[in-house]
Symmetry: C2
Subunit: 187 residues, 2 copies
Protein backbone atom coordinates (compact mmCIF):
# COMPACT_ATOMS: atom_id res chain seq x y z
CA UNK A 1 0.00 0.00 0.00
CA UNK A 2 1.42 3.36 -1.03
CA UNK A 3 2.16 5.59 1.95
CA UNK A 4 2.05 9.35 1.35
CA UNK A 5 5.52 10.81 1.82
CA UNK A 6 5.62 14.58 2.29
CA UNK A 7 7.44 16.07 -0.73
CA UNK A 8 8.91 12.71 -1.72
CA UNK A 9 9.73 14.05 -5.18
CA UNK A 10 11.63 17.05 -3.80
CA UNK A 11 13.52 14.85 -1.33
CA UNK A 12 14.49 12.43 -4.11
CA UNK A 13 15.70 15.28 -6.32
CA UNK A 14 17.73 16.75 -3.46
CA UNK A 15 19.25 13.36 -2.60
CA UNK A 16 20.06 12.63 -6.26
CA UNK A 17 21.80 15.93 -6.88
CA UNK A 18 23.83 15.54 -3.67
CA UNK A 19 24.99 12.10 -4.75
CA UNK A 20 25.68 13.19 -8.36
CA UNK A 21 27.80 15.98 -6.93
CA UNK A 22 29.61 13.80 -4.35
CA UNK A 23 30.29 10.63 -6.30
CA UNK A 24 29.51 11.49 -9.92
CA UNK A 25 26.51 10.77 -12.12
CA UNK A 26 27.66 7.38 -13.41
CA UNK A 27 28.41 5.96 -9.95
CA UNK A 28 25.05 6.98 -8.49
CA UNK A 29 22.30 4.34 -8.37
CA UNK A 30 18.54 4.59 -7.87
CA UNK A 31 18.94 2.48 -4.70
CA UNK A 32 21.50 4.97 -3.38
CA UNK A 33 19.25 7.93 -4.15
CA UNK A 34 16.26 6.33 -2.42
CA UNK A 35 18.38 5.44 0.61
CA UNK A 36 19.77 8.97 0.93
CA UNK A 37 16.23 10.36 0.73
CA UNK A 38 15.00 7.85 3.37
CA UNK A 39 12.55 6.39 0.84
CA UNK A 40 12.20 3.14 -1.13
CA UNK A 41 13.18 2.40 -4.73
CA UNK A 42 9.51 1.81 -5.34
CA UNK A 43 8.74 5.38 -4.28
CA UNK A 44 11.54 6.61 -6.58
CA UNK A 45 9.93 4.86 -9.56
CA UNK A 46 6.59 6.43 -8.74
CA UNK A 47 8.12 9.80 -9.68
CA UNK A 48 10.95 9.04 -12.15
CA UNK A 49 11.49 6.37 -14.80
CA UNK A 50 15.27 6.35 -14.15
CA UNK A 51 18.02 8.46 -12.57
CA UNK A 52 18.42 10.49 -15.76
CA UNK A 53 14.85 11.73 -15.44
CA UNK A 54 15.73 13.41 -12.14
CA UNK A 55 17.77 15.86 -14.23
CA UNK A 56 15.06 16.44 -16.83
CA UNK A 57 11.85 16.34 -14.81
CA UNK A 58 11.91 20.15 -14.46
CA UNK A 59 11.60 20.73 -18.21
CA UNK A 60 7.88 19.96 -18.30
CA UNK A 61 7.18 22.49 -15.55
CA UNK A 62 9.44 25.06 -17.26
CA UNK A 63 7.41 24.60 -20.45
CA UNK A 64 4.06 24.84 -18.68
CA UNK A 65 5.01 28.03 -16.80
CA UNK A 66 6.53 29.60 -19.90
CA UNK A 67 3.50 28.87 -22.12
CA UNK A 68 1.10 30.23 -19.49
CA UNK A 69 3.15 33.42 -19.42
CA UNK A 70 3.09 33.71 -23.23
CA UNK A 71 -0.67 33.14 -23.27
CA UNK A 72 -1.15 35.87 -20.65
CA UNK A 73 0.66 38.59 -22.69
CA UNK A 74 -1.54 41.33 -24.18
CA UNK A 75 -2.95 40.40 -27.61
CA UNK A 76 -1.11 43.11 -29.57
CA UNK A 77 2.30 42.35 -28.02
CA UNK A 78 5.20 41.87 -30.45
CA UNK A 79 6.12 38.13 -30.68
CA UNK A 80 9.51 38.29 -28.93
CA UNK A 81 8.05 40.51 -26.20
CA UNK A 82 5.32 37.91 -25.58
CA UNK A 83 7.97 35.17 -25.40
CA UNK A 84 10.04 37.18 -22.94
CA UNK A 85 6.95 38.01 -20.83
CA UNK A 86 6.58 34.26 -20.38
CA UNK A 87 10.12 34.09 -19.00
CA UNK A 88 9.25 36.30 -16.00
CA UNK A 89 7.39 33.56 -14.07
CA UNK A 90 10.04 31.10 -15.27
CA UNK A 91 12.81 33.17 -13.67
CA UNK A 92 10.79 33.35 -10.46
CA UNK A 93 10.28 29.58 -10.44
CA UNK A 94 14.00 28.96 -10.90
CA UNK A 95 15.22 31.25 -8.10
CA UNK A 96 14.98 28.60 -5.38
CA UNK A 97 16.49 25.99 -7.72
CA UNK A 98 19.84 27.73 -8.06
CA UNK A 99 21.90 25.14 -6.14
CA UNK A 100 20.27 22.28 -8.09
CA UNK A 101 20.74 24.11 -11.41
CA UNK A 102 24.45 24.73 -10.79
CA UNK A 103 25.22 21.08 -10.11
CA UNK A 104 22.89 19.90 -12.90
CA UNK A 105 24.66 22.09 -15.47
CA UNK A 106 28.05 20.72 -14.46
CA UNK A 107 26.84 17.11 -14.76
CA UNK A 108 25.17 17.63 -18.13
CA UNK A 109 28.13 19.45 -19.65
CA UNK A 110 30.42 16.57 -18.68
CA UNK A 111 28.23 13.90 -20.32
CA UNK A 112 27.67 13.94 -24.13
CA UNK A 113 24.59 11.71 -23.91
CA UNK A 114 22.93 14.04 -21.38
CA UNK A 115 23.94 17.02 -23.50
CA UNK A 116 22.15 15.48 -26.50
CA UNK A 117 19.05 14.91 -24.43
CA UNK A 118 19.18 18.51 -23.20
CA UNK A 119 19.42 19.66 -26.83
CA UNK A 120 16.35 17.66 -27.79
CA UNK A 121 14.42 19.00 -24.79
CA UNK A 122 15.32 22.57 -25.79
CA UNK A 123 14.19 21.85 -29.34
CA UNK A 124 10.85 20.54 -28.03
CA UNK A 125 10.55 23.61 -25.83
CA UNK A 126 11.12 25.91 -28.84
CA UNK A 127 8.49 23.96 -30.79
CA UNK A 128 5.99 24.39 -27.93
CA UNK A 129 6.67 28.14 -27.64
CA UNK A 130 6.32 28.42 -31.42
CA UNK A 131 2.93 26.66 -31.24
CA UNK A 132 1.82 29.05 -28.47
CA UNK A 133 2.68 32.02 -30.73
CA UNK A 134 0.87 30.51 -33.71
CA UNK A 135 -2.10 30.12 -31.36
CA UNK A 136 -1.86 33.91 -30.81
CA UNK A 137 -2.12 34.51 -34.57
CA UNK A 138 1.61 34.89 -35.31
CA UNK A 139 2.68 33.41 -38.70
CA UNK A 140 4.58 30.10 -38.61
CA UNK A 141 7.90 31.62 -39.72
CA UNK A 142 7.76 34.58 -37.36
CA UNK A 143 6.74 32.24 -34.54
CA UNK A 144 9.68 29.91 -35.16
CA UNK A 145 12.14 32.84 -35.26
CA UNK A 146 10.76 34.42 -32.08
CA UNK A 147 10.50 31.11 -30.19
CA UNK A 148 14.02 30.01 -31.06
CA UNK A 149 15.33 33.47 -30.20
CA UNK A 150 13.55 33.21 -26.84
CA UNK A 151 15.12 29.83 -26.10
CA UNK A 152 18.59 31.17 -26.96
CA UNK A 153 18.01 34.24 -24.78
CA UNK A 154 17.07 31.91 -21.94
CA UNK A 155 20.11 29.64 -22.54
CA UNK A 156 22.52 32.59 -22.55
CA UNK A 157 21.02 34.04 -19.34
CA UNK A 158 20.86 30.63 -17.64
CA UNK A 159 24.53 29.89 -18.44
CA UNK A 160 25.52 33.16 -16.75
CA UNK A 161 23.17 32.61 -13.81
CA UNK A 162 24.68 29.24 -12.86
CA UNK A 163 28.12 30.90 -12.84
CA UNK A 164 27.00 33.55 -10.37
CA UNK A 165 26.27 33.46 -6.65
CA UNK A 166 23.03 35.44 -6.72
CA UNK A 167 19.98 33.14 -7.11
CA UNK A 168 17.72 36.14 -7.87
CA UNK A 169 19.80 37.33 -10.84
CA UNK A 170 18.09 35.26 -13.55
CA UNK A 171 15.40 37.78 -14.45
CA UNK A 172 17.90 40.61 -14.84
CA UNK A 173 20.18 38.38 -16.92
CA UNK A 174 17.23 37.50 -19.18
CA UNK A 175 16.49 41.19 -19.70
CA UNK A 176 20.14 41.87 -20.52
CA UNK A 177 20.19 38.95 -22.94
CA UNK A 178 17.10 40.32 -24.74
CA UNK A 179 18.77 43.73 -25.03
CA UNK A 180 21.87 42.03 -26.42
CA UNK A 181 19.77 40.17 -28.98
CA UNK A 182 18.07 43.40 -30.06
CA UNK A 183 21.45 45.00 -30.41
CA UNK A 184 23.01 42.21 -32.51
CA UNK A 185 19.97 42.00 -34.81
CA UNK A 186 19.65 45.78 -35.29
CA UNK A 187 20.38 46.98 -38.80
CA UNK B 1 44.75 -0.68 -56.80
CA UNK B 2 42.50 2.38 -56.54
CA UNK B 3 41.27 3.55 -59.91
CA UNK B 4 40.35 7.21 -60.25
CA UNK B 5 36.63 7.55 -60.89
CA UNK B 6 35.52 10.92 -62.22
CA UNK B 7 33.25 12.50 -59.58
CA UNK B 8 32.75 9.22 -57.76
CA UNK B 9 31.46 11.06 -54.68
CA UNK B 10 28.85 12.98 -56.68
CA UNK B 11 27.73 9.80 -58.47
CA UNK B 12 27.39 7.96 -55.15
CA UNK B 13 25.34 10.80 -53.64
CA UNK B 14 23.08 10.88 -56.70
CA UNK B 15 22.62 7.10 -56.65
CA UNK B 16 21.93 7.08 -52.90
CA UNK B 17 19.31 9.78 -53.03
CA UNK B 18 17.60 8.07 -55.99
CA UNK B 19 17.41 4.81 -54.06
CA UNK B 20 16.33 6.49 -50.80
CA UNK B 21 13.55 8.13 -52.80
CA UNK B 22 12.53 4.97 -54.71
CA UNK B 23 12.71 2.30 -52.02
CA UNK B 24 13.08 4.20 -48.74
CA UNK B 25 16.10 4.91 -46.55
CA UNK B 26 15.91 1.74 -44.44
CA UNK B 27 15.71 -0.62 -47.43
CA UNK B 28 18.69 0.93 -49.23
CA UNK B 29 22.08 -0.76 -48.81
CA UNK B 30 25.62 0.43 -49.49
CA UNK B 31 25.95 -2.40 -52.05
CA UNK B 32 22.84 -1.14 -53.83
CA UNK B 33 24.12 2.44 -53.87
CA UNK B 34 27.50 1.39 -55.28
CA UNK B 35 25.83 -0.76 -57.93
CA UNK B 36 23.50 2.01 -59.03
CA UNK B 37 26.49 4.36 -59.31
CA UNK B 38 28.45 1.77 -61.30
CA UNK B 39 31.14 1.70 -58.60
CA UNK B 40 32.34 -0.73 -55.94
CA UNK B 41 31.48 -0.84 -52.23
CA UNK B 42 35.17 -0.20 -51.64
CA UNK B 43 34.89 3.08 -53.54
CA UNK B 44 31.80 3.98 -51.49
CA UNK B 45 33.74 3.53 -48.24
CA UNK B 46 36.53 5.75 -49.56
CA UNK B 47 34.05 8.66 -49.37
CA UNK B 48 31.51 7.75 -46.69
CA UNK B 49 31.65 5.76 -43.45
CA UNK B 50 28.06 4.51 -43.94
CA UNK B 51 24.87 5.30 -45.86
CA UNK B 52 23.80 7.83 -43.25
CA UNK B 53 26.87 9.92 -43.98
CA UNK B 54 25.65 10.44 -47.55
CA UNK B 55 22.93 12.63 -46.03
CA UNK B 56 25.28 14.56 -43.75
CA UNK B 57 28.44 14.91 -45.80
CA UNK B 58 27.32 18.33 -47.04
CA UNK B 59 27.31 19.86 -43.56
CA UNK B 60 31.09 20.24 -43.41
CA UNK B 61 31.11 22.12 -46.70
CA UNK B 62 28.17 24.28 -45.57
CA UNK B 63 30.11 25.20 -42.44
CA UNK B 64 33.32 25.97 -44.35
CA UNK B 65 31.58 28.19 -46.91
CA UNK B 66 29.54 29.98 -44.23
CA UNK B 67 32.57 30.69 -42.00
CA UNK B 68 34.58 32.00 -44.97
CA UNK B 69 31.70 34.35 -45.73
CA UNK B 70 31.54 35.56 -42.11
CA UNK B 71 35.31 36.12 -42.06
CA UNK B 72 35.08 38.16 -45.28
CA UNK B 73 32.50 40.64 -43.90
CA UNK B 74 33.76 44.18 -43.19
CA UNK B 75 35.24 44.56 -39.71
CA UNK B 76 32.64 47.03 -38.38
CA UNK B 77 29.63 44.97 -39.58
CA UNK B 78 26.90 44.26 -37.02
CA UNK B 79 27.10 40.60 -35.85
CA UNK B 80 23.87 39.35 -37.46
CA UNK B 81 24.74 41.16 -40.70
CA UNK B 82 28.12 39.38 -40.76
CA UNK B 83 26.37 36.04 -40.18
CA UNK B 84 23.90 36.72 -42.99
CA UNK B 85 26.70 37.86 -45.33
CA UNK B 86 28.15 34.38 -44.88
CA UNK B 87 24.86 32.89 -46.04
CA UNK B 88 25.17 34.45 -49.53
CA UNK B 89 27.80 31.97 -50.80
CA UNK B 90 25.92 29.22 -48.93
CA UNK B 91 22.73 29.98 -50.89
CA UNK B 92 24.73 29.94 -54.13
CA UNK B 93 26.32 26.60 -53.25
CA UNK B 94 22.90 25.06 -52.53
CA UNK B 95 21.18 26.16 -55.74
CA UNK B 96 22.27 23.12 -57.77
CA UNK B 97 21.49 20.82 -54.83
CA UNK B 98 17.79 21.57 -54.77
CA UNK B 99 16.62 18.10 -55.95
CA UNK B 100 18.93 16.39 -53.43
CA UNK B 101 17.83 18.76 -50.62
CA UNK B 102 14.13 18.11 -51.25
CA UNK B 103 14.46 14.35 -51.00
CA UNK B 104 16.93 14.59 -48.10
CA UNK B 105 14.51 16.72 -46.07
CA UNK B 106 11.70 14.24 -46.60
CA UNK B 107 13.88 11.32 -45.47
CA UNK B 108 15.21 13.10 -42.39
CA UNK B 109 11.80 14.31 -41.25
CA UNK B 110 10.48 10.74 -41.40
CA UNK B 111 13.27 9.29 -39.24
CA UNK B 112 13.66 10.40 -35.59
CA UNK B 113 17.26 9.16 -35.38
CA UNK B 114 18.27 11.19 -38.45
CA UNK B 115 16.38 14.18 -37.08
CA UNK B 116 18.43 13.98 -33.86
CA UNK B 117 21.62 13.83 -35.84
CA UNK B 118 20.51 16.85 -37.89
CA UNK B 119 19.81 18.73 -34.66
CA UNK B 120 23.31 17.99 -33.35
CA UNK B 121 24.86 19.06 -36.66
CA UNK B 122 22.94 22.35 -36.51
CA UNK B 123 24.10 22.87 -32.92
CA UNK B 124 27.71 22.29 -33.99
CA UNK B 125 27.20 24.70 -36.87
CA UNK B 126 25.89 27.39 -34.50
CA UNK B 127 28.91 26.82 -32.22
CA UNK B 128 31.27 27.24 -35.20
CA UNK B 129 29.56 30.45 -36.35
CA UNK B 130 29.68 31.72 -32.76
CA UNK B 131 33.43 31.02 -32.64
CA UNK B 132 33.90 32.88 -35.94
CA UNK B 133 32.15 35.93 -34.45
CA UNK B 134 34.22 35.78 -31.25
CA UNK B 135 37.27 35.71 -33.55
CA UNK B 136 35.97 39.01 -34.98
CA UNK B 137 35.89 40.55 -31.50
CA UNK B 138 32.19 40.00 -30.72
CA UNK B 139 31.47 39.15 -27.04
CA UNK B 140 30.61 35.51 -26.27
CA UNK B 141 26.94 36.24 -25.44
CA UNK B 142 26.32 38.46 -28.46
CA UNK B 143 28.08 35.89 -30.66
CA UNK B 144 25.89 33.05 -29.39
CA UNK B 145 22.70 35.07 -29.90
CA UNK B 146 23.67 36.15 -33.42
CA UNK B 147 24.95 32.71 -34.46
CA UNK B 148 21.84 30.90 -33.22
CA UNK B 149 19.62 33.53 -34.87
CA UNK B 150 21.54 32.96 -38.12
CA UNK B 151 21.04 29.21 -37.94
CA UNK B 152 17.30 29.68 -37.32
CA UNK B 153 17.05 32.16 -40.20
CA UNK B 154 18.72 29.57 -42.42
CA UNK B 155 16.44 26.75 -41.18
CA UNK B 156 13.28 28.80 -41.81
CA UNK B 157 14.43 29.79 -45.31
CA UNK B 158 15.61 26.27 -46.13
CA UNK B 159 12.29 24.72 -45.06
CA UNK B 160 10.45 27.05 -47.45
CA UNK B 161 12.98 26.51 -50.25
CA UNK B 162 12.54 22.73 -50.33
CA UNK B 163 8.76 23.27 -50.63
CA UNK B 164 9.17 25.47 -53.71
CA UNK B 165 10.02 24.68 -57.32
CA UNK B 166 12.56 27.47 -57.84
CA UNK B 167 16.12 26.30 -56.99
CA UNK B 168 17.41 29.91 -57.06
CA UNK B 169 14.95 31.14 -54.40
CA UNK B 170 17.09 30.36 -51.33
CA UNK B 171 18.93 33.67 -51.17
CA UNK B 172 15.70 35.69 -51.39
CA UNK B 173 14.07 33.47 -48.74
CA UNK B 174 17.06 34.04 -46.43
CA UNK B 175 16.70 37.82 -46.86
CA UNK B 176 12.99 37.58 -46.10
CA UNK B 177 13.68 35.46 -43.05
CA UNK B 178 16.18 38.05 -41.74
CA UNK B 179 13.60 40.79 -42.23
CA UNK B 180 11.08 38.66 -40.37
CA UNK B 181 13.52 38.17 -37.50
CA UNK B 182 14.19 41.92 -37.31
CA UNK B 183 10.47 42.51 -37.24
CA UNK B 184 9.71 39.99 -34.45
CA UNK B 185 12.59 41.23 -32.28
CA UNK B 186 11.81 44.94 -32.76
CA UNK B 187 10.65 46.70 -29.64
Amino acid sequence: MARWEPDAQGRLMGAAIELFDEQGYEATTVAGIAERAGLTKRTFFRYFSDKREVLFSGSQELQRVWLEGVAAAAADTNPLTAVVAGLEPVAEMFTERHPFARIRTRIIEANPELLERELIKLQNLAAAVKAALVERGVSANAAMLAAQAGVTVFQVAFAQWVQQNDPTALRRLIDESVQELRSVTAN
